[in-house]
Symmetry: C2
Subunit: 191 residues, 2 copies
Amino acid sequence: MSQRAGLSREKVLQIASDLSDQHGLHNLSMSLLAAQLQVRTPTLYHYIDSLAALRRALALRALDLIGEQLGQAIMGKSGREALHGLAYALRDFAQAHPGLYEAAQAAPASHDQEWRASGRRVVDIMRRAFDAYQLDEEQSRQAVRMLRSMLHGCIALERLDGFGVPHAAEDTFQALLLALELYLTQRPPRD
Amino acid sequence: MSQRAGLSREKVLQIASDLSDQHGLHNLSMSLLAAQLQVRTPTLYHYIDSLAALRRALALRALDLIGEQLGQAIMGKSGREALHGLAYALRDFAQAHPGLYEAAQAAPASHDQEWRASGRRVVDIMRRAFDAYQLDEEQSRQAVRMLRSMLHGCIALERLDGFGVPHAAEDTFQALLLALELYLTQRPPRD
DNA sequence: AATATAATCTAATGGCATTAGATAATGAGA
DNA sequence: TCTCATTATCTAATGCCATTAGATTATATT
């Protein structure tokens, strides 16, 4: 009957990504996606195995994009500058792509090597931002965990509380960074 | 036909709370809840308006419980001790009741005064833990936001990364607390 | 033009939330 | 103890969603 829609896996994922940014990842359905692509729902199964597989694909895409942006953000920087570049790059990504950011927070299945590797790649990039602080491997992993906790918590809280004071989110963000810097420069005694 | 099941709103909420802790909030369905209560799904609508209303009720219950536990945790403590009591109490709650904790992280509708008030009550309790640091109102709100960001991020990350190093989560948790203490004791210059 | 391939469709299944309305169990008053 | 109102629960039905199977149509290849 109808003309072909000219879909491709890439196009499907791109629109899925846009939709999740606009309506939230949890509101992204096969139904909505098909409607946006002007196609019947079953058509999507030529490009995607399932809704779960779609979410996974978005997570991988998100991690790749995040890695890319973080890498650029810390290029040529070190110390305090690198740290701030990293933090702002991640926050900016979360603001520009809330759906993708949400996708990146999902936990991969323990046997999903590809997904796990993508996550590790991002962590490794983040670790480079701490080079100037002279941390051993375990300490730099710790620092990454601290930064990720702070940023993710701050971003999540901003979505939750929303308003209140206008500059609250930005102030808190900066204060958290300062706290991390204080911690890093006045490193605690290891027992 | 069948005997009455002897339900009550309280019982329904209690089982819903248990189920969300066991299977995750997002896996809590009217269907699952009805099955657990040995009753047909429509029966639940005598006690609950909708699935959304159930989630809201769990959020309120979670905020009340959290407020109670935090209040007890900081009773008679101040300064560093109060801060740690607060932090551990919240983390312990999240571990003991992952479903309820998740419910508490949902954002209330902007017009939902009751829900918002419950959230505010928790924040006020947390603010008391910072009494000894001599912060003005805005500073203590900031401190609460920092602590919440840290804890929520840390808890979320623990669920995400899971394992890796065994003590990583605990170490990160303590390091974040130390960072906050450093920030509070070496208060930044206000502009 | 004929055919193979691939993209899309229709039809069907089963799960879920929700509503409407029927039925059966309980408790209160005669 | 009987009657009746109340209310807890049920069955039936609707509509949305994800998914599968298999038919059909559009394009590319010869």
